[in-house]
């Protein structure tokens, strides 16, 4: 990995982390079953991932680094699992089931929204 690649990853992860913390602290919304601010972060990252996939990012080194640096630090899988674990601990199994189905469906909706926005325009 060269110096330029490290700089892109560091810049991307810094921006991703700060944006995630900003959204986590400022957009406390509850929509549907239990969509929290961390889910909003994951929906937004799915949307951006859709855009990257439409640009065929696997053939572009800079976009791969953006994916590894920015999107990797912006989106968070452990917080999503922690949300589910919290419901599991409270024995709210039905709510847990609906929450994860809801997050997957909405994430894919945003993913394809980003993907088709680039493909068609």
């Amino acid at each position: 990995m060269d110096f330029g690649s490290i700089c892109i990853i560091l810049f991307g992860s810094t921006f991703g982390l700060i944006l995630r913390i900003f959204i986590q602290n400022n957009f406390k919304k509850k929509i549907g079953f239990d969509i929290q601010n961390i889910s909003l972060v994951n929906f937004l990252s799915s949307f951006l991932l859709g855009i990257l996939v439409a640009f065929n990012f696997m053939n572009n080194t800079k976009l791969i680094l953006f994916y590894g640096g920015f999107l990797g630090s912006f989106s968070t899988f452990s917080s999503f699992i922690y949300q589910l674990f919290f419901l599991f601990q409270q024995k709210k199994f039905l709510r847990l089931f609906f929450h994860y189905i809801e997050v997957i469906i909405i994430s894919f909706f945003f993913f394809y929204l980003g993907y088709f926005l680039i493909k068609f325009f």
């Binding site: 990853i9 990797g72 630090s73 899988f77 452990s78 699992i81 922690y82 894919f108």
Partner: protein
């Protein structure tokens, strides 16, 4: 948030990002991350340490976009059954990894 804390969170994030890129296997990363998050949430940590670990390290270490991209690749092949099995399996396995970490942490303390 204090500047000092933000710098520590950023350093944890950089370490996590490079570890993720070196390991380069989303499933192992998510399992390891879920287990350790489960372990640490049961520990009595100070607010700043909790932020550094959970918001800085583990959130940057595990990647939801990597999970979605993995599922997209399966979906793109038109394999709906594999898609449904994988997304359920990944979530259930990670949930139990987190519970296992939580359980071990409770046994130790």
């Amino acid at each position: 948030m204090k500047i000092k804390n933000l710098i520590y969170i950023l350093l944890a994030c950089y370490l996590a990002t490079f570890l993720r890129l070196i390991i380069n296997n989303n499933f192992i990363i998510s399992l390891f991350g879920s287990f350790l998050v489960g372990f640490f949430i049961n520990q009595r940590l100070s607010y700043s340490i909790e932020k550094i670990l959970l918001s800085g390290f583990f959130s940057c270490f595990t990647s939801f976009s990597g999970f979605i991209y993995f599922l997209y690749e399966i979906l793109n092949k038109g394999d709906w059954l594999k898609f449904i099995i994988f997304f359920n399996l990944i979530i259930i396995v990670n949930l139990f990894a987190m519970y296992f970490g939580f359980y071990i942490s409770r046994k130790i303390t």
